[in-house]
Structure formats: C-alpha cells, structure tokens
C-alpha cells in the first residue's frame, strides 16, 4: 500500500476530484494548507503597510491506495491539476506500514479496496 500526498491549487480541486472519481479513486482526505513552491509572491497593501505573501493557499490531498492504484491516481491528479505555471503543486508517494478500516477491522489491501464494485464510468 502507498499513501499518495498531493499539494495542489485550491482552484484546481473540483477538477482533481472529478478526475479521481473517474479513475475510481473513492477514499480521500483533504486539508486546506499554506505553502511555498517558488511561485511569485502576491504583494498586498493595507493602508501604508505593504506585505509580500510568501505562502500561497493550497489544498493537500491524502489518498491511501493499493500498489497497482498508485499510477492511475497520480496520473488523474497530474492531468487535472496542471496549468503549466509555477505553483501547480507536488505529489509525494509514501510507503504505508499498516492500514485498518475502522468499521470492519479489515487490514491493509482489504482496507483500501472500495466496498462495492464501482459502476463503469
């Protein structure tokens, strides 16, 4: 099993979710995050105070998948989140030691396999 962690633009989230669902990736968690990845900073001014925003708003997705699902998952995210400009984000694939589905106690591969066979898209 792997944990796919993706940092993307917030405005790409809808497209990424749609793309993931099309790829039959059903279980995921998202967080709002702030990060810096080399994109140009926005300059903001409040009265006389000018600030550079070094951190941009991002969305962080965490997706636990079985090994053969890593490639489709990564591809779905890349396809949907790429705009070609600096700041599109990163994807990290991490090894996972153990997964437990709380409802059933299923472990590992069984715990990251969707409950029902998905209907064809």
């Amino acid at each position: 099993m792997k944990l796919v962690v993706a940092i993307i633009r917030p405005e790409s989230l809808s497209r990424v979710l749609e793309s993931l669902f099309r790829a039959d990736v059903r279980g995921l968690t998202i967080h709002r995050a702030h990060g810096h990845g080399g994109e140009t900073e926005n300059v903001e001014t409040y009265r006389g105070t000018t600030v550079k925003m070094e951190l941009s708003e991002k969305v962080r997705l965490e997706i636990g998948v079985s090994d053969h699902f890593v490639e489709p998952t990564v591809r779905a995210i890349v396809d949907a989140a790429r705009t070609g400009e600096v700041g599109d984000g990163k994807i990290f694939v991490l090894p996972v030691e153990k997964v437990v589905r709380i409802r059933t106690g299923e472990q590992d591969e069984a715990a990251v396999t969707p409950v029902e066979e998905s209907a064809p898209v």
Binding site: R9, E11, S14, H34, H36, E41, N42, V43, E44, T45, Y46, T49, T50, V51, K52, M53, E54, L55, T83, E85
Partner: protein, 426 residues
C-alpha cells in the same frame, strides 16, 4: 417656498438611499466566493465615488436642467445655479443630492451580473460612462420632463428608471463580458449568507428613503409610499417561502433575502400610487415570475451571476405593469389604472418599459465596446482563478497573515528592504 418638515424628511431620506449602495455591496458580497468578496463590495463602494461625482458635475444637469424630450440641458453643469433656493419645497441643492443617490445605486446594481471576472478598471470606466449616457437620458424621460413624462408614464420611485434600466444593462453586460470560467462547471457557493441577509435588511431600511422620499416632502403621499414599501415585500417573502417549502421542503435564507429585494423592486413604481391592499397584491404576485426566472436562468449558459435580471428586471416589469393596473385616484389624487377604468395606462406602462430596455441595452453595448478599445473587459484566466481580491485590489477579505513578509521602504532610498514579519524587534 421652503418647508422645514419637508426639508427635514428629505435630508434623512437622502442619507437612507445613499446607504443602500453599501447595503447592496453586502447583499452581493455574501453571494460570491470568498476570493472575490472585496472585489464585489468594491464594485458598489466605487460607484459612490465615480458615479456620485459624475452626477454632481454633469449627470444632474443632463436629467433635470431644462432641455428637450430626450435629454436635459447644460445649464446646471458643474452645479451652476444649484443653490439653496426652493425646488418644490426643499432646497435645490438637497434635491440634487437626493437624486444623485439614485444614480449611484442604479449603476452599482449592474455589478451583480459580472462579479468574479470583470476587470476593475474597465468596470470603473463603464459605470461612469453608463451613468451619463444611459441613466441620465432615461431619468430625464421619466422625471425630468421628457417624452415619457409627457406621455403620462407612471414611475413613482424608479421601477423603470432604476430597476428595469439596470437589469437591461446587466443582461447585456453579462453577455458581452461572458460567463465566469467556472460557470456551470463547478458549484459556486455563497461565501457568507449572513452578509446577504444583512444587506437585504439594510436595503429594506434604505428603501423607505427611496420610495417615501420620492414624494419629495413629509406628506400623505410619503406616508402611503412608506407603508406600501413595508407591506409589499412582506407579501413577496411569504409567497417565496411557501414556494420554497413546496418545491424542496426547505425555506432558504438566500431565497428570503432575494424575495425581500424582489418585493421592494416591484412596489417601487407603484409606491405612492396604489392603496395598501393592492400593494400587498403586487408583492404577492411579483414573487412568482421572479422565482420562475431564477430557476430558468440557472439552466442556461447566461451567467447573470447574482440574478439582476430575475430580481430587478422581471420584478421591475411586474411592478411597472401592475402600477398601470392598480393605480388609484382615490389614493394618489391624480391618475387611475386599468382596474379603475383607465386601460390606456397599461399601454403607456408597456411603452415606457420597452423604451427603457431598448435604450439601455443598445447604449450599454456601445459603451462596453468603447471601453474594450482601451482596456480588456475581463480579468485574465489566471487572475480569475486566483480571485479578484488579490489580483485587482492586492488585499484579501479573510487574511490569515501567515507567511506575510513586511516590505520596508527606507525614507531615503527607493529599494525595499525585506524583513520577516515574525522577526524579533531588537
């Protein structure tokens, strides 16, 4: 002859109507996404300055200085001759100020059709030109002694001049500027529904100045308009809520805020011309076509984002027509509508409505094409994705402050020195 009571009421009414523009900003600002909240509010606030100044320097003269059937004259340009002498029973200067608040809110209404995508500098140029080239002639036709006034069109407080006029412009602007890139692709949810309810509440309060102030005095006509302004939106709110409950089983807050505005729009042309029960009827009836228009619009590619056409256009037309039906000499002392034996009034109301729509749509299109020669009407796709608050204004509505680095400009040198905001001061 100046009258103290009339002057006192009109001073208050002027302030109330001016407040409607920030209130509209909150109504609209709550309905957009948080990354565009400031931009949407600023579209209303900017009208206070740009349209307000255009009004004082030129617009007032074009509407109210003696002129022809189509446009007023130039004798009051730069406020020449607008003094403390009596205009009716109030100071001429106060009359000018009161009418100016109408021009401002009318231009700001259009912004609801193009939120989340229009370039702010193009918007500023557009509303300033629009106030002079579209609002001024239509206001002159109806209130400045122009051809619709001579024809006998009834528009007590601006159903045609303000609402139908703004809605026709909104429709054209939405089409010319084009839909948001996310329109009908992603769910776009309101960022702050309480803002929208706050805005609707303040609009209602301000509308007492708008409608009852249109009597231009503290008199019986103002009392009638005031009461009708209270009663009609109540009717709309009840019917809207019942339709909501019937359709989905849930009475929505955004629906309630919309209903209040629709009721206020519909009663505007009729406010001082119909009795209280007909006013309730206008409010009740107005809910249905506007509700239907909202549902229909959501299924089209037309991105009139905050439904200016459904609320102000459809609501305004409903009000204009029903004014022609329900106006009653027993209440207004001058003119009857169709129901009281004057069917011709309905025809006059239709002529006024069609004329306002035709002029507003055509002239709005021309102004937009002219502005587009100098500056793009739209923000870029990247700016739209990032949000117009940061890209157009360099500010955020809800700033978390993390990662903000203070840019220090030395008094002597132009080069900015950087210092992390969190660095200890030592």
């Amino acid at each position: 002859m100046l009258d103290s009571a009339d002057t006192a009421w009109m001073l208050v009414a002027t302030a109330l109507v001016l407040m409607m523009t920030p209130a509209l900003g909150f109504f609209y600002g709550g309905l957009v996404r948080s990354k565009n909240a400031l931009n949407t509010l600023m579209m209303s606030f900017a009208a206070l300055g740009f349209v307000g100044l255009a009004w004082a320097l030129g617009g007032y003269s074009l509407v109210f200085a003696p002129g022809g059937s189509w446009i007023g004259g130039g004798s009051h340009l730069l406020l020449r001759g607008v003094d403390l002498g009596a205009k009716g029973s109030i100071p001429h200067l106060l009359f000018m100020a009161y009418q100016g608040t109408f021009a401002i809110v009318t231009a700001a209404l259009i912004s609801g059709a193009i939120v989340e995508r229009m370039s702010f500098r193009a918007y500023l140029a557009f509303i300033t030109a629009w106030a002079l080239a579209v609002y001024a002639p239509v206001a002159h036709w109806v209130w400045g002694g122009g051809w619709l006034a001579e024809l006998g069109a009834l528009d007590f407080a601006g159903g045609t001049v303000v609402h139908i006029n703004a809605a026709a412009a909104a429709l054209v602007t939405a089409i010319v500027v084009g839909p948001r890139k996310d329109h009908a692709r992603q769910a776009v949810l309101p960022q702050n529904v309480p803002f929208t309810l706050l805005g609707a509440g303040l609009l209602w309060l301000g509308w007492f100045g708008f409608n009852a102030g249109s009597a231009l005095g503290a008199n019986a006509s103002a009392a009638l308009a005031f009461t009708n302004t209270m009663l009609a939106p109540m009717g709309t709110l009840v019917v809207w809520t019942l339709i909501d409950l019937r359709r989905t089983g849930k009475a929505t807050a955004v629906g309630a805020a919309t209903a209040i505005v629709v009721g206020l729009v519909a009663i505007t042309p009729a406010a001082g011309l119909v009795g209280p029960l007909p006013a309730i009827a206008i409010g009740v009836v107005a809910a249905v076509p506007s509700y239907a228009a909202l549902l229909w619009r959501a299924r089209t590619r037309l991105d009139d984002s905050l439904d200016v056409v459904a609320a102000h256009g459809v609501g305004g037309i409903t009000g204009a027509i029903l004014t022609g039906v329900l106006a009653s000499r027993a209440w207004n002392g001058t003119v009857d509508g169709m129901l009281y034996g004057n069917p011709r009034q309905l025809w006059i109301q239709l002529v006024a409505t069609v004329a306002a729509i035709a002029w507003s749509a055509g002239a709005t299109w021309s102004i937009l094409k002219l502005v587009a020669l100098f500056t793009p009407l739209r923000a870029s796709r990247r700016e739209e994705g990032l949000g117009l608050d940061v890209s157009q204004h360099g500010e955020e509505a809800y700033s978390h402050g993390e990662g903000a680095v203070l840019v220090l400009t030395e008094p002597e040198s132009e080069s900015p020195a950087l210092r992390p905001a969190a660095a200890p001061v030592s």
